[in-house]
Amino acid sequence: MAGLDLPVLIQVIWLVMLLLILTGLYQRIQLKLWILIIKTRLSIIKNVFEEDKLRVKNMLRIMGLEAPEFMLSRLLDFFIIEPVSIEPTDIIKRMDHILRVTENSVKQLTEKALPSVGKHERSLVESAVSIVASIGLIYRVLRHYVIQGEREENYIIVMQLMYLMPQILRTVKILHEALDAFMYGKPIGDGVGPLVAYMLAEKCNVVSKRVIDETSILEATYRNRRLIIVKAEGPGSNVGHPGAAVSRVVEELNGNVSLILTVDAALKLEGEETGLIAEGVGAAIGDPGPEKIAIERVAAKYNIPLRALVIKMDLREALTTMRKSIYQSCEAVIDRIEKIIEEFTPEGSTIVIAGIGNTMGIPG
């Protein structure tokens, strides 16, 4: 029998490929390959989740909790149900209530489990657990869609998962890196707002300080003006309630405020430099709604100019330990604040400056 010719072999290969395309079998082969790749990546996410769960368990054991598994499983499976949005009346009030109840519930759980641990150390535990819970949620949702896509041979679901996988993996990696900062109380990039507020307070002559609702309100004088500096109470992992605090302060002053300025971290676009400062209008605060709307409402009620300063960074830089470039940009932000104050407010006026963000590692 004559051996197989190369041209004949190539023709057979082309014929097989044509049959696969015409019958749609290539799609099934691709589906199987994609599921295989997605499962490999899913196992990476699972390993990250297990590793971080173990780290938090060890953290809890060091803090004095002998059997952290039960407490951890309660917190990892903790869920929040969104308020009804088809009826938007008082949705902000309902959302604020749900968020506060969530906060208090988690605080009570950790306080019961770790009664001898200080408030700030407990806040680190709460934040570390929430990071692990986020990774866990990503893993469970992905696993759900993989199993569903495989069972139903749903090409579209699997294709979307395949193309979103790099972004999801990057997010999981960022959360994994962020756990280190939250376990040891290191300032993160998102803390640039509170850090600016802290540095500004150091420069001013602070007259009084009070803490309301885990938020510090400092009154100071600076360049013949009265500054009310608002930031979350540190140095634990805390974002406070700056919106409620600003609203309260402005109401106490009957609206006699010349300017409300919010300072926060913002996600940069690809190609932009980290630490870039941008000015704008509005409330620079990234909460689900209640805090932001409180600032906007009080500014609109009394016709107070609402300005914003943001420091640009990417998600990794926002959640992990603060980069040196971001730390160094704080001085430039303070210079910009001084300029805005000089340009837009007369002497003798009152200015409210809110440093928005997680104040971990930053006291005051």
Binding site: K173, K186, T321, M322, R323
Partner: protein, 83 residues
């Protein structure tokens, strides 16, 4: 098409497939994100002498710790960041 050309085409096809596999899967494993270390700046409250050292758990900005190697005064953490 003579057999030499066919073999060349087949080799070229295999090379393209191998390159695509390399670009898609193998190359990414080599791109590692840079490792960061956390450092803190301490400033002497007396003589403003500045030192930089590694972060220690429990430290936060504003904490008074260590003594100044120059004048013996108290040092305060001015900043914590990663490099």
């Amino acid at each position: 098409m003579n057999s030499g050309t066919e073999i060349l085409l087949a080799v070229l096809l295999v090379a393209v497939i191998l390159y695509l596999i390399y670009e898609s899967y193998l190359k990414k494993k080599r791109e590692e994100s840079p490792r960061y270390v956390t450092r803190e700046i301490l400033v002497c409250l007396n003589c403003n002498y500045v030192i930089e050292k590694d972060f220690e758990p429990g430290d936060f900005i504003g904490l008074i710790k260590d003594t100044c190697p120059r004048c013996g005064g108290k040092m305060r953490i001015k900043g914590i960041y990663s490099v």
